[in-house]
């Protein structure tokens, strides 16, 4: 009786392409061409850095942080160049990396979800450009987006603003197509409720301001 390499699942060598990712051996061996990877990432940057930056900016609501994270995402893309199986999937792959960068940062900082937007960047006075962005992001919708869970927010941004298809969305979020669609469904309801809450709070604040402007009238707030 002998081992039959064709039927044992232990073909020579032991390593086989994984069902869960690229061939680990290839990625671990450092065999890919660095110049080729560098050129590829440069081309990818030229094509997609604007939208990746925009996505990270919308996720984090911080221009400087978004720039840092965009840089981080492309460096990670370079380092993980060998995990890109098909060049035609590069955009979704890049969004996946950016999405993970965002979630890592959110998890680490625990800041985004309920942090009120102040318009101040970290450690410095806001620039004119920053103030413009602040104004751009001051609407109900942005505040509502900031209130919903980050994965739901990511799903909405990627689907509605960044035009990812269903399969691209699933790839970027690192979930199945079914799960991505379910996440998007929950996100729409979360956003609807968050917007309603935002508008209710805004109405209440407006009523309070109106009451304060009228002398002799007690400040009453609709509840």
């Amino acid at each position: 009786m002998v081992l039959d390499p064709s039927t044992t699942g232990l073909r020579t060598p032991f390593g086989r392409p994984s069902a869960f990712g690229p061939d680990r051996r290839r990625s671990m061996s450092g065999a890919w061409d660095r110049d080729e990877a560098g050129a590829f990432i440069e081309d990818l940057f030229a094509k997609h850095h604007g939208e990746i930056y925009a996505y990270l900016f919308r996720m984090m609501r911080d221009a400087e942080l978004a720039a840092d994270m965009t840089q981080d995402a492309f460096v990670k893309a370079y380092r993980n160049y060998d995990t890109l199986e098909k060049p035609e999937n590069a955009r979704a792959w890049l969004y996946q990396i950016a999405h993970r960068v965002a979630l890592d940062e959110i998890r680490r900082r625990k800041i985004v979800r309920f942090l009120p937007w102040t318009g101040e960047s970290r450690g410095s006075a806001p620039s004119a450009e920053h103030l413009v962005m602040d104004a751009r992001l001051s609407g109900d919708l942005q505040r509502a987006l900031a209130r919903i869970p980050e994965r739901q927010r990511a799903a909405l941004l990627l689907a509605e603003l960044h035009d990812l298809t269903g399969l691209e969305l699933a790839a970027a979020l690192g979930v199945s197509h079914v799960a991505a669609r379910a996440l998007l469904t929950r996100a729409r309801e979360s956003l609807r409720q968050a917007l309603a809450a935002e508008r209710a709070e805004e109405s209440a604040a407006e009523a309070a301001r109106d009451a304060a402007r009228e002398p002799g009238r007690p400040a009453e707030v609709d509840r």
Binding site: M1, V2, L3, P5, T8, G9, L10, T12, P13, F14, G15, R16, S18, A19, F20, G21, R24, R25, M28, G30, R34, G38, I41, E42, F45, H49, G50, Y53, F57, R58, A66, A67, T70, Q71, F74, V75, Y78, R79, R100, L103, R136, L141, P149, R151, L157, E160, L161, G166, G174, V175, S176, A179, L184, T185, R186, R188, E189, L191, R192, L195
Partner: protein, 586 residues
């Protein structure tokens, strides 16, 4: 109400028609509904102003979101310069950061022999001889004898592989024999190099011990001292049944005893130790010990049928103790504590599919009992004698971050152990492989599975997983969410095997063996060690052996037991002849 007391609703269990309509309205924005649901929704909207208003809200929100496209923020002008500098720096350090590929590390192999129990392997024959002690020796085509065996440095060399001497260690499995399920036990002292193209003999005849198990188990988990195992089988009634069976050393010289023991005979089919058939049935052998009370709260919704509960399991093949019935065991993580004094597993009552808790059995007790009550907890691993369990932080949502607790199994006292999912802690309590990321409700709505994050090696302490240092690639097993995973360490803490379930079928997956650089907290792949090999759920690792069962081949090829073994310098492989669908002891 405690958040642990709330039950999650199943995805299709609509509380009312409006909720159903709301869900379908949102879904409709991303693709057409099925005809049935579309028709139902249209009819519902005709008579429901509130839902019609929500439909308008969804549309308006979508338009507002899309309007944001016109206000795309512009990146800073120096972004490429910064990024290029980062890439240049990464290129310079990449070589040093890549995970180490290496030959085997030097280090003494020590500890007790590994035991592998496999169900369903057919009788094996031929190829390898077995001596009177059950020791398997391979054919030696070189004629040089095993003492001169070494790994052939030339993979294109002779067709007949030169065996690798790995030192005698026992390997055992369970076979469906004429009298029921039996354990086969062999001693493997040689394996073939991974590059061996053919000619490597299969493991063959073995000493046998009949086991008091009626139906083929789904899992078998052995105790650290190999004196007993817990078999998890489908019950004739609802759910699963957990039965403790005593094991004996089938290759040892039998001591005079009035109790039946397995024969050390090298003849497999003749070595079975026949047992009274009544032993197999809990109901036919009432004993006074069946009334031994459990140490803690009884198992919810679970009946108990016990026989011979004993703090010191007897060395008879007949000992059998049912510690739990009426439950459904969840996942692959069931395990004995390092001392062998406790056994833990995840389960849900068979009559309440949404509540998942951690159960423990103290060796000697009559029954297992739930040690958590929140209905959302999963057993992760043992940290010494402390039980590590994970649960979703917010179980009322479909997505949640995990939280982990350390539990004293005797008192059920919990202490926080960080926010990772199902850490598999090594025997020293210093390292763990954890899912660091989020969870999502499983497709069937009955449990939780990894969503986004990575499975990776981390330093471990009483406070849980420590932040990862250095290059995450050197610690990472995968950054794709597996449907399920099973991580087991060997006794030295220098080797760890990771099984990742396939996306479509959680009973099969891929198995990888890593060497662990404990000082640098990184995973290393070793030439010749299995990487992503197909494997059924359930494997055994310990004492220089990793054993698993291969899935059935697409061409009708039956499953085999495969055993990777390593010496101080080499890794090799030996396997059984084809058999039934085997399940290896964990």
């Amino acid at each position: 109400m405690s958040r642990f007391m709330r039950l999650r609703r199943r995805p299709d269990d609509w509380s009312d028609a409006h909720e159903r309509a709301r869900r379908r309205l949102a879904e409709r924005l991303d693709g057409p509904l099925g005809l049935t649901e579309a028709t139902w929704l249209d009819e519902h909207l005709v008579g429901c102003a509130a839902c019609t208003a929500i439909a308008a809200d969804y549309e308006a929100d979508r338009l507002a979101l899309r309007a944001m496209r016109d206000d795309r923020p512009e990146p800073p002008r120096d972004l490429w310069a910064r990024t290029a500098a980062g890439i240049e720096a990464a290129a310079g350090t990449r070589g040093a950061e890549d995970k180490v590929r290496r030959s085997l590390p030097l280090g003494a192999l020590s500890g007790v022999a590994v035991m592998v129990i496999v169900v369903g392997v057919s009788l094996l024959s031929g190829g390898i001889s077995i001596d009177q002690h059950g020791t398997v020796t391979g054919e030696d085509p070189s004629g040089e004898g095993p003492g001169l065996a070494s790994l052939d440095p030339n993979p294109e060399g002779p067709v007949q592989p030169t065996p690798i001497v790995v030192g005698e260690r026992e390997v055992a499995w369970v076979d469906k024999g004429p009298d029921g399920l039996s354990r086969l036990q062999v001693v493997v002292d040689e394996v073939c190099p991974a590059e061996g193209k053919s000619g490597c003999p299969t493991v063959s005849d073995a000493a046998r011990q009949q086991l008091a198990i009626v139906s083929a188990p789904k899992q078998i988990v052995g105790s650290p001292d190999r004196t007993q195992a817990v078999a998890i089988s489908k019950s004739a009634a609802a759910g699963d049944e957990l039965v403790v069976v005593a094991l004996v050393d089938a290759t040892a010289t039998p001591a005079p005893s009035s109790q039946p023991t397995a024969s050390p005979s090298p003849v497999a089919s003749d070595a079975a130790s026949p047992e009274p058939s009544a032993r197999a049935s809990a109901t036919t052998e009432p004993r006074a010990s069946a009334t031994v009370p459990a140490a803690s709260a009884p198992l919810p919704s679970a009946a108990v049928a016990s026989i011979e509960p004993s703090a010191t399991p007897t060395q008879t093949a007949a000992a059998r103790l049912a510690i739990a019935t009426g439950i459904e065991v969840v996942g692959q993580s069931a395990a004995f504590s390092s001392s062998g004094g406790w056994f833990a597993f995840t389960a849900r009552p068979a009559d309440d599919a949404t509540r998942t808790d951690v159960y423990v059995w103290r060796v000697g007790d009559a029954q297992a009992h739930a040690v958590t009550t929140d209905g959302q907890s999963y057993f992760a691993s043992w940290d010494g004698e402390a039980l590590i369990a994970s649960r979703p932080d917010d179980p009322d949502t479909a997505d949640s971050d995990p939280t982990t607790v350390s539990i004293d199994p005797a008192t059920a006292t919990e202490s926080d152990a960080g926010d990772v999912w199902r850490p598999a802690v090594d025997g020293s309590g210093e390292l763990a492989i954890v899912w660091d990321g989020s969870l999502r409700s499983s497709e069937d709505g009955r449990g939780w599975v990894p969503a986004e994050g990575s499975l990776e090696l981390r330093a471990w302490s009483d406070t849980g997983a420590q932040p990862g240092d250095g290059d995450a690639r050197q610690r990472r097993v995968t950054d794709r969410a597996p449907r399920d995973f099973d991580v087991r360490w060997d006794q030295t803490g220098e080797w760890v095997a990771v099984w990742l379930a396939d996306e479509d079928d959680a009973t099969v997956g891929r198995l990888t063996l890593y060497h662990v650089d404990r000082d640098e907290v990184r995973l290393e792949e070793v030439d010749g060690a299995p990487v992503d090999v197909p494997a059924l759920s359930g494997f055994s690792i310990g004492d220089g052996r990793l054993a698993w069962a291969t899935p059935r081949g697409q061409g009708g090829e039956s499953s085999r037991i495969q055993i990777a073994a390593w010496s101080e310098t080499d890794v090799g492989i030996v396997e059984s002849s084809p058999g039934e669908d085997p399940i290896v002891i964990r």
